[in-house]
Assembly symmetry: C2
DNA sequence: GGGGAACCGTACCGTACGGTACACTGCTTG
DNA sequence: CAAGCAGTGTACCGTACGGTACGGTTCCCC
């Protein structure tokens, strides 16, 4: 919002990407304290001087790691055509599964831990960056999907953001925070596909519009009995 | 589980509680880096030597802060009598509101940030401690409540833990992680009572059993149409 | 081929923090 | 009153890390 030309985010050379990759590996292995400039330079066969030339300071390096990693997890594009009913459900399940996979990833967890650990102090720059670079794209994908489903008459809700937050809650529950705290996932949580399907079932029970005899006229579907959405 | 006599967790003297209070304040204000042993000693008018005598080392001090804080947020006792329908819903709403209040608290956020930041490295002792001392009591309270509601025939589910996780997800959504990352709550999220009521409404739409004409015989209510709970 | 830019490896500096030692003080107890 | 205990304040030590400087090497471009 405060960026004039966001079309060209700071991209890095191949060499710098290699260094960022090494830094991410070190971060995953050793956490915050395992990520020292000397350690990165040694592991990546580069000099500390280059690190500071490329990334400014340690914080710039961490920020670069976040943007680099989120650039790798580009979300798939939204649906082009208004999805048919079963396809819409399938897209939701895929989204849920992708979300669980991303949030459970080693690198994602390590970066979130890093940003959260930094967030308490005076400057919470990394936290905002994770929110912007990491979560916003995912949210945007989900919102587009939800609104396409609403336009097609499969779901009904007043506030897209509210529906998204509920969807997120049903999918992720407390798994993310528990993983961040170092907990092991419970046996039932390892089957991400099944968890995703269950969550979407629940979401559609809350926000779904029952199929109609004349599926061709989904115009005024938003008045279904599914949503109260009290204010 | 590995503790022989957990009836007497390490309690601290009044003086030590004062010190822990000061340490929590420093942690809230300055985050991880703002919490140095010298800083605590100065702010609490005690000597570093006393800190190390009382708490062993820095990690012991952090652990003491966690147990001290969670001892202050003792959850209310479970329902004694099987709750009537409206009362059951009210208890759920109260639980939801309490949960949101606790998770949004300054101290809770700071301690979670601390534990999460530490969790990446070799020893994730603080993370486990937060899970055990902070979250388990809340979960126990909710589970007791849910099972009382099931026994009274108001809700139906096969796995209590699964129902609890869904309840948690509907209440908290992604608010906790966003707050941990330093995000500000959205306007609609500040009214915790309304959010709690909405979440419980949704939960009851998923797991609720419709009231019956003969409310006096809630015995075989678990066969209601509300739950599929696919495995 | 020569000049220069980028970069590696290492050595170095200042600082800040965890942890320890020690002298001094006030309060309790026999 | 004397002894002792608990605690305070300060000084101190070792280490580890962020950041800088510098010599040597490679490689590209003119």
């Amino acid at each position: 919002m405060d960026q004039v030309a966001p079309a060209a985010p700071p991209e890095f050379s191949a060499r710098q990407n290699d260094v960022l990759e090494v830094a991410l590996r070190l971060l995953v292995e050793g956490g915050d304290k395992g990520l020292t400039t000397a350690g990165i330079a040694r592991a990546a066969n580069c000099s500390k001087e280059s690190l500071y030339k490329w990334f400014g300071d340690r914080d710039g390096l961490l920020a670069a790691m976040i943007t680099y990693q989120s650039s790798k997890v580009r979300a798939a594009a939204g649906p082009g055509a208004p999805p048919e009913r079963a396809a819409f459900r399938a897209l939701l399940v895929t989204f849920a599964e992708d979300l669980l996979t991303v949030l459970s990833g080693d690198v994602s967890l390590a970066l979130n831990r890093l940003a959260i650990g930094e967030a308490g102090g005076a400057e919470a720059r990394l936290g905002g960056l994770v929110l912007k670079a990491g979560r916003r794209p995912i949210e945007a994908r989900a919102r587009a999907l939800l609104e396409a489903g609403r336009a097609a008459g499969h779901v009904a809700f007043a506030d897209t953001g509210d529906a998204y937050h509920t969807l997120y809650g049903l999918i992720v529950r407390d798994l993310h925070v528990r993983l961040l705290l170092g907990d092991r996932p419970e046996p039932g949580e390892t089957d991400r596909r099944a968890r995703a399907a269950t969550a979407i079932d629940q979401f559609l029970r809350l926000f779904g519009v029952p199929p109609r005899a004349d599926e061709t006229k989904p115009e005024r579907a938003a008045a279904g009995q599914a949503v109260t959405n009290r204010v």
